[in-house]
């Protein structure tokens, strides 16, 4: 039996079995199908299609009222059932279509959010990179400046050392200049600097002291110790006092000539450190002296 014949034969046999005024199965199914459609998405999404189904069901109901046993009633009910099923299916299609549209909208929003999030991360990374580049550039500039300063300082030091050496070399041509464990020692004869028993610098010694002052000014990073020495004639008290005053007289003169006062220490050591025999006239003359010691150590005064 074909599908169509089955759908037609079934309600006929039902009608015969249940009596003339009992609604045919097609009509019962049509009513149920309409109720089902009315409870679905159809009223909201495809009201026109549901209305068509309602009209179709009403027609079937009228046919049933007019002629309950007719094949027209059965066919009308069958058609009404299909119209109701169609309305429900179209409602479902519309709901699915709306769901698809919503999903596509969500997809767009999500993609936008992902893009914005990635753009935010990218901007943050770019900002960090820019900061790091800036920091590196500053460090590079700082290093370049430090290098330049270091080089300038090195050049200045070389020039100062050369100048100092040249000055000391020039000084050594006219005065006794020697190096020992304390540093560079410039020895000035006491007989040239002072009258016997006096601590006043003789005018004739000023040229020598001027030359010494000029040389010391080139030794700006060194400390100077001025030591006054006597021979062993007279008492220690007198010799100590005299040597001290002579050392300070030389110090004061050098300060006047521009040597930094803070760089000079003056002291008298009397006859305690002879360099020659005090028994001879020449030896005693050599022991009467002033030593200016350019300390070996370099200070950070400037």
């Amino acid at each position: 039996m074909s599908v169509a014949k089955f759908w037609i034969a079934l309600p006929l046999s039902a009608l015969l079995a249940c009596g003339a005024h009992l609604a045919p199965k097609e009509l019962v199914d049509a009513r149920a199908a309409y109720d089902h459609a009315a409870a679905s998405n159809a009223p909201r999404l495809v009201p026109a299609e549901l209305h068509v189904a309602r009209e179709s069901l009403d027609l079937a109901e009228r046919k049933f009222a007019d002629d309950p046993d007719s094949q027209d009633t059965v066919d009308s009910a069958y058609i009404a059932m299909r119209k109701a099923q169609r309305a429900e299916a179209l409602g479902n299609a519309a709901a699915a279509s709306a769901s698809k549209t919503f999903a596509e909208h969500e997809q767009t929003k999500t993609q936008q959010a992902i893009i914005e999030n990635q753009q935010g991360k990218l901007q943050k990374t770019e900002s960090q990179l820019a900061q790091e580049r800036d920091t590196l550039a500053k460090e590079r500039d700082s290093l370049a400046k430090q290098k330049q300063m270091t080089e300038e300082e090195r050049q200045k030091r070389i020039e100062a050392e050369k100048k100092a050496q040249d000055a000391m070399d020039a000084l050594s041509k006219s005065l006794a200049v020697k190096a020992d464990t304390r540093g560079t020692v410039i020895t000035l004869s006491g007989g040239v600097l002072f009258a016997t028993g006096q601590a006043t610098i003789l005018p004739g010694a000023q040229a020598q002291l001027n030359q010494v002052a000029d040389a010391l000014k080139t030794q700006a990073e060194h400390h100077f110790t001025i030591e006054g020495h006597t021979d062993n004639q007279g008492t220690d008290a007198i010799n100590n006092d005299l040597s001290n005053r002579r050392a300070n007289a030389v110090r004061d003169y050098l300060v006047v000539r521009g040597v930094a006062a803070a760089a000079i220490t003056a002291q008298g050591v009397g006859s305690t450190q002879p360099v020659a025999d005090n028994k001879t006239t020449e030896g005693r003359a050599m022991n009467r002296r002033v030593e200016i010691i350019v300390d070996r150590a370099v200070t950070a005064r400037n």
Partner: protein, 91 residues
């Protein structure tokens, strides 16, 4: 007669024969149309009209079911794509 034929063609074009839920109704529509043609030959025109109306109704239902199936498949696919995108975007 023409409206039934058009409805059946519409169902075929909608791919009803490939949608399980719609296949039965397309088949019914075709059989009912054949039966209507036979009724016309027997000069039972009134019965033939109702049979054609049934054929048309079945074909239109097949179209609606095919359309609903396709729409549902597309909605499911779009929803899965969104969920996949959200899960990947969250990582």
């Amino acid at each position: 007669m023409a409206s039934s034929e058009g409805a059946i063609r519409g169902a075929q074009e909608a791919g009803a024969q490939n949608v399980p839920a719609a296949t039965l109704y397309l088949q019914l529509a075709e059989e009912e149309r054949e039966m209507a043609l036979a009724l016309v030959k027997d000069d039972k025109n009134h019965r033939a009209e109702y049979m054609l109306a049934r054929s048309e109704a079945d074909a239109e239902l097949a179209v609606a079911l095919a359309r609903a199936a396709r729409a549902q498949a597309e909605a499911t696919k779009a929803t899965e794509q969104v969920q996949d995108l959200k899960s990947r975007g969250g990582k």
